[in-house]
């Protein structure tokens, strides 16, 4: 694009330019060109072309107006990525020469000047220091749809923002538009909602609004809310929306006057309403929680009680598969649990021989 940015500057100068410390305009005395690094007034077009050709301020102006996607949220996201609000152009261009990185969910994003132009790079945060040669290279943003589909163990990921993004890939050389498309394929709508939040117009739909909107098989979830309590919704959020389960920062609450008691998380991008996974799970809980409690009597040793608690913790924290086969010191170890089952279950699978009798 050598020269294009100069031509564009000359074409635009009569309308005046005032962007990122670059000021250009034309009056009867000629052109005026001002940056923190240089001031030229009353110059002719040839001189303007000379000073513009070497100016990072001009290339920067050109990038943001002729190269970067102009959709507001995409533009703001790219500015955020290179710290445009914190650094002036000279400082920013120095930084960009070495590369500027940021994290978006589990994405490690990087922008670097190559031949004076911004090129973008995406890989998994866990691969930030991995040798590029060891990563599978991609250049098509929509490849991200396939990469996002399964985790490293081959399990399907129904929630794109679950912290289970697979590793081992890189998009090493993307344009600005391609970067945005790639991020949006990994984490759909996160840029749009992040931008809305920054602009103060994120349209949050709280739990009450969301469940009362449901129809069909999900209409029943609305009946789960009774009286003033929202403890059950706290449990839902703790189960599904914790940072360990989803990288969005939960901004929805019980209703617009009642916050939930659990933390919304520390994600970069917001969650603006209970998602389809939460609603589908809530439907199941609505049915389960319709049951009244009963009293059962079991005899357990203190260690057996603690072992049941350890099993629940291991499953809830996704650690059951990590417990070593012979680590019989862990309550959720497979041999330990099989022993417990052998001892406590009858032939019908009843704990301590006590029938559920529902």
């Amino acid at each position: 694009m050598d020269g294009e940015y100069v031509d564009a500057l000359v074409d635009t100068a009569p309308d005046g330019i005032d962007f990122d410390d670059l000021h250009v305009d034309r009056d009867p005395d000629g052109y005026a060109f001002r940056t923190p690094a240089a001031t030229h007034t009353g110059i002719d077009e040839e001189t303007l072309r000379e000073v513009a050709a070497d100016s990072p301020y001009v290339r920067n102006w050109y990038f943001w107006h002729a190269v970067a996607p102009q959709k507001d949220d995409h533009w703001a996201f790219l500015r955020w990525l290179e710290g445009a609000d914190e650094r002036g152009v000279t400082e920013r261009y120095d930084a960009l020469s070495d590369g500027v990185a940021a994290t978006w969910g589990q994405l490690h994003l990087r922008v670097e000047l190559t031949g004076g132009e911004r090129r973008y790079h995406v890989r998994h945060v866990a691969d930030a220091d991995t040798d590029s040669e060891d990563l599978a290279k991609h250049d098509e943003p929509l490849d991200a749809r396939d990469l996002a589909k399964h985790d490293d163990d081959g399990q399907y990921r129904p929630l794109k923002t679950a912290p289970s993004l697979r590793t081992g890939w890189a998009f090493p050389d993307l344009t600005a538009a391609e970067l945005v498309a790639t991020v949006d394929a990994f984490y759909p709508a996160t840029i749009a909602n992040w931008h809305r939040e920054r602009e103060g117009d994120l349209d949050v739909s709280h739990w009450r609004d969301t469940v009362s909107r449901q129809t069909g098989i999900y209409g029943v979830v609305d009946t789960w809310d009774r009286g003033d309590g929202h403890e059950h919704v706290d449990w839902v959020a703790e189960a599904c929306c914790d940072d360990s389960q989803c990288l969005k920062r939960r901004e929805w609450q019980y209703d617009d006057e009642t916050d939930l008691d659990v933390d919304g998380g520390s994600g970069t991008f917001p969650c603006r309403e209970p998602c389809s996974l939460v609603i589908a799970a809530a439907r199941k809980w609505t049915k389960l929680e319709g049951e009244a409690t009963r009293t059962y009597e079991f005899e357990l040793t203190p260690s057996e009680k603690e072992q049941l608690e350890a099993v629940i913790d291991a499953v809830a924290d996704g650690e059951a598969d990590d417990i070593r086969e012979a680590d019989i010191y862990e309550g959720a170890n497979r041999y330990r649990v099989r022993y417990l089952r052998a001892k406590l279950f009858d032939e019908d699978g009843n704990l301590a021989g006590v029938e559920t009798d529902d």
Partner: protein, 293 residues
């Protein structure tokens, strides 16, 4: 002004392949360049119906539901979740299979949305069913000596579900291409379990009118028809059942020509996509019947 296409599909929390046909058809259309943007959206996946429009730059959007029939999803869920202000099913003025388009404004983004009828009830869907029969038999002239079963889920909540199946079975029957054409259902009479009782022909092509392969098309229907006792062990195409050769096609929605139906829906709503339609038909083997219908 730039025009965008948004495809609305069901998706799945459990089945990773549910979204595959949606992605494939979107890619086919994207490659034509007919739209400045092509976006997939899902009821169960992301981007969600609620949030996809805010990822679209264009002010004018053609919204095409990748659903088989008119009913709960097309009349209630999609318009509600996309926040299509002033939506009313009456705007489609449909008899259950004749929805075309309605132009509305999205409440959260202000975009103009041309909300199209579902792909499943478009006339060109009949061509896709025939194309699917050609694909599974490997015979571009398949018809003579063959029966064709078009299989649907059935009614449960929605009478239009069966209407869409019968509509295409009737249209294909009227072409006199296959010796017999019959609509069958999973959960109502006539049932797909008894497929061989409904045909005289030795060879029967069975095409399920489903968008994606999944539990119903890969497990239920093959087992119900007796192609296999256990879907995990697979089945041959064709498989002989009760003296008939059953050519089971799997979900019609996976046929590449489906991309054409999506485009036809957008074209009917005013999108300028005629060149793209020609291109997609050529690439996916779709040829309009010479006699028309």
């Amino acid at each position: 002004m730039d025009q965008a296409l948004v495809i609305a599909a069901h998706g799945s929390h459990l089945n990773a392949e549910s979204s595959t046909p949606t992605y494939d058809h979107a890619d086919t259309i994207r490659a034509t360049g007919a739209f400045a943007e092509v976006r997939e959206s899902f009821w169960k996946e992301e981007p969600s119906f609620r949030e996809v429009l805010r990822t679209v730059d264009a002010e004018e959007v053609y919204l095409v539901p990748l659903f088989i029939s008119e009913g709960y999803f097309t009349e209630q869920v999609i318009p509600r979740e996309f926040r299509l202000d002033d939506w009313d099913p009456e705007l489609w003025d449909s008899d259950g299979t004749s929805a075309t388009t309605a132009t509305l404004t999205a409440g959260d983004t202000g975009q103009t949305v041309h909300y199209c009828g579902p792909v499943g009830t478009h006339d060109t869907m009949s061509d896709v069913i025939v194309q699917r029969a050609q694909s599974v038999t490997g015979d571009s002239d398949v018809g003579e000596g063959f029966g064709l079963a078009v299989v649907g889920h059935g009614t449960e909540r929605n009478e239009n579900s069966a209407k869409a199946i019968q509509y295409h079975a009737d249209r294909i029957r009227d072409r006199d291409r296959f010796d017999e054409v019959q609509s069958l259902f999973m959960d109502e009479e006539p049932e797909v379990d008894d497929v061989t009782e409904h045909f005289e022909s030795d060879d029967i092509v069975v095409v399920p009118l489903f968008i994606a392969d999944g539990f119903h098309t890969q497990e239920d229907i093959p087992e119900d028809m007796g192609l296999t006792d256990d879907y995990r062990t697979g089945y041959d195409v064709p498989t002989t059942v009760d003296g008939h050769d059953i050519w089971y096609a799997g979900a019609v929605g996976t046929e590449p020509l489906m991309a054409d139906v999506v485009l036809e829906r957008a074209a009917d709503a005013g999108a300028d996509v005629s060149a793209a339609i020609e291109q997609v038909r050529e690439e996916t083997g779709g040829v309009r019947p010479a006699t028309g219908d």
